[in-house]
């Protein structure tokens, strides 16, 4: 499933494109706990989180995450988007909550990496 399809399924807004065209996703990690994201080896995952601080992007860098979707309508500060842009990580957000996002993506065929 590519990022454009995911964005459509979750009614996302793109906050930082960062070369997201053509990013293919087949696994998802979803948590507000950053160590949970890091606990399992699943590079190139989509990361769903409600945590919008700078550590969310640093965690994505460390975990080799391919793209971030902030849930519950969360909008990260500018410095967070700047770091994502610098590191080439596309960032989107959606008004949907974590549970609904996971359900929609699971129904679309994606599976968890945790």
């Amino acid at each position: 499933m590519d990022l454009e399809q995911i964005a459509a399924a979750l009614s996302c807004d793109t906050l930082c494109a960062a070369g997201g065209d053509g990013v293919d996703i087949d696994v998802v990690v979803a948590s507000d706990g950053m160590s949970e994201i890091l606990a399992f080896h699943c590079p190139h995952a989509l990361m769903l989180t409600g945590l919008t601080n700078i550590q969310s992007v640093r965690t994505a860098i460390v975990a080799d995450v391919s793209a971030i979707v902030y849930v519950r309508g969360k909008h990260p500060p500018g410095e967070v988007l700047d770091l994502a842009l610098e590191k080439g990580i596309p960032v989107l957000n959606t008004a949907l909550g974590m549970f609904d996002c996971c359900g929609i993506l699971y129904g679309a065929g994606l599976r968890g990496g945790m």
């Binding site: 507000d32 890091l38 080896h41 700078i54 969310s56 640093r58 975990a63």
Partner: protein, 145 residues
């Protein structure tokens, strides 16, 4: 005898959430530039990041030393701080003394030290209450990631 290829030391400041994790992303850039196995790089950077955030959350100051040889990557974090009274308990996944503030920042769910151990081929930890903690992680370059 292993040949040392590179060594760096980083200062990490307790309670500095703005820069917390920054050193680890620098380490990722260094390791990536050495054309190492990406799975090995990822394990080392997870170790660095968890160690760095532990200092940010719990300690006053820390020194993170990165040593790369032709055989392995070693990360040693030595901090000054409150220390860990019961290391066996601290190593249990899910056990934590984190504050609500730490959890609101996405950390403190009792996964940090277990994540460091899980990603290490060799792992050592020593702590003295009231003085600080030393965590050593070694990752072999010939590991399977």
């Amino acid at each position: 005898m292993a040949e040392e290829l590179l060594g760096c030391c980083y200062r990490v400041h307790g309670r500095d959430y703005d820069t917390g994790g920054e050193k680890s992303t620098e380490i990722k850039s260094i390791l990536t530039s050495l054309d190492l196995d990406p799975a090995i790089v990822r394990r080392a950077v997870v170790v660095a990041f968890e160690a760095e955030m532990n200092v940010v959350m719990y300690a006053d100051e820390g020194a993170l030393t990165l040593t790369i040889t032709d055989e392995d990557i070693t990360l040693e974090m030595e901090d000054t701080g409150p220390g860990i009274p019961d290391i066996a308990l601290a190593m249990q996944e899910g056990w934590s003394t984190a504050t609500d503030e730490m959890r609101e920042r996405g950390f403190g769910f009792g996964m940090g030290l277990p994540n460091i151990r899980r990603n290490s081929d060799e792992f050592e930890i020593a702590s003295e209450v009231g003085r600080g903690t030393v965590v050593l992680s070694r990752i072999r370059l010939d590991g399977d990631g």
